[in-house]
Symmetry: C2
Subunit: 306 residues, 2 copies
């Protein structure tokens, strides 16, 4: 039986891609091609879980308005979901992709969450945990008007149920999540944020984090756990679109956390690094190149370090 | 009694403005402020007609989908309207305005018009002309899938009713409109397009155009008519946002065409140039600075030329 990976997206998005000839500041650019896709990190994680043969389920806030373009977008992507209407509108991100591949991202901050949003998403998560989940991934930003501790609080609810949980968040939310019982997945910037607050990786693990899996782009990733520390680099240098690499890493890790109480960390880390690199080959976040991943996993060398 | 100025918008838009710190190609930019406004040149013309104390009425195509964000936008702007659902969706334009004022425009091309769109908008226009209109302004692009001659055909319907009509169009639509009985309002690029096809301003007037009012930005405008040719320059050098200047010019001209069978061309031209310049002071198309306009009209020198 494939257990569900439930992802939590507090700040969903409609990801718009504008393909243009070239983007010249101060000029007018015609946009002959517009694509739209339900987005937000948790959506991308669920999509990659599905691509990996898992059973992804997206729990997210959405608009209180009608129609719900975000919901239609999830249905288009074939992602099972449960939505909590608690935002005036779902923010848009616009990726302007020039013919030479240069991508300029415009990210709307988003509308504030309604009062009661935290209670509603917490209740929905409890309900989904009661139904059953192999692991939970809480990713992305916290909408305006919502306490940055919410990801940490939701992680503690997962811990109540004994369900492994990953938090892929930054800023104040990351600081709050550091001792929530979640597996942390900081990138290099977020790692620096934590260290700046006195929280080195070893301090975090010593303080009770089940694991800290720090991703480093082309330099691979490090998994620090109570049982050991491992590192791995990608099998090949990859160029392309790195925007979904972190979400792909989280999806791969979540499936390993769900698979067994004792995680096979070398296998998990090789999967994280190969899956993450395979996302770079795809033009949009939420997609991976399965063939490349399959090729790379056995070629991904994992070293134990200390 | 204030007669109506009916504007026709075949390719409406939702004009989105992103205010950002700076737009750097290849980077990610946060957009803390998003504004949305019903757009399309005919909408802007109707808005300026209202600002000038006239009675603007926007006839436009719109989405067949729900909800109709364009319709809500017109209601928000307080613009009386009649919409013909005949597009899959209303296109978006995104103006990225940096803190230093540099504006980069991204313009979606838009979805195709449905079959039957031309017949539907023609019938709606006839109906509005029967209700009564002092003048009609047909502005902007023709949606994909619609014949570029449609503005010219709609202009001929106005001529049947004896209603003065302005066409503010470009490309193939402009060439088709040249002998439709409409007053033409080409900017400098469009003037060059016409001349390239052998249609100089004097040839157009000699061929039956009631007037050609060519706008030239900071250099003012020229009105060529059977009764004479006049030119006028703005009273002051103006810097700001020129995107709505042409629509403001068309609104001012339409009110003069509606006011009297024999247009007072010097007065009309001074109004066109002053109103157009006052639009440059405003941050969005569809707005004018009434105080500046009032100050500038008596200072706008109009010369008769030949």
């Amino acid at each position: 039986m494939t257990s569900r990976i439930v992802t939590v997206t507090l700040n969903p998005a409609i990801d718009v891609t504008y393909r243009v000839d070239a983007l010249r500041v101060g000029q007018t650019v015609r946009v002959p091609e517009v694509r739209s896709r339900a987005g937000g990190k948790g959506v991308n994680v669920a999509a990659v879980v599905n691509a990996l043969g898992g059973n992804g389920f997206a729990l997210a806030l959405t608009t209180t308005g009608t129609p719900d373009e975000f919901r239609s977008g999830l249905e288009e992507l074939g992602i099972a979901h449960r939505l909590v209407p608690a935002l005036t509108s779902v923010r848009r991100t616009v990726a302007v992709v020039a013919a030479d591949g240069t991508t300029t991202m415009l990210q709307e901050n988003g509308s504030p969450a309604c009062e009661g949003a935290e209670a509603a998403i917490t209740e929905a998560l409890r309900d989904e945990l009661e139904t059953g989940a192999g692991a939970v991934v809480i990713s992305g930003s916290v909408p305006n008007g919502m306490d940055p501790s919410v990801p940490a609080r939701l992680a503690r609810v997962c811990a109540e149920f004994g369900t492994p949980v990953i938090t892929d968040v930054s800023g104040p939310a990351l600081h709050a999540a550091a001792d929530s019982g979640a597996v942390l997945m900081p990138n290099q910037d977020e790692l620096a944020e934590l260290a700046g607050g006195g929280r080195t990786v070893s301090a975090l693990v010593a303080g009770g984090a089940p694991a800290v899996v720090a991703t480093a782009g082309a330099d691979g990733a490090v998994a620090a756990t109570p049982r050991g520390v491992w590192q791995a680099r990608p099998a090949e240098v990859v160029t392309g679109n790195p925007t979904g690499a972190g979400d792909a890493a989280a999806a791969a890790l979540a499936l390993h956390l769900a698979a067994a109480r004792d995680v096979d960390w070398p296998a998990a880390l090789a999967d994280v690094v190969a899956t993450s690199a395979s996302a770079v080959l795809r033009p949009v976040a939420g997609e991976i190149d399965l063939g490349a991943r399959t090729r790379w996993i056995p070629l991904t060398k994992v070293k134990e370090t200390r």
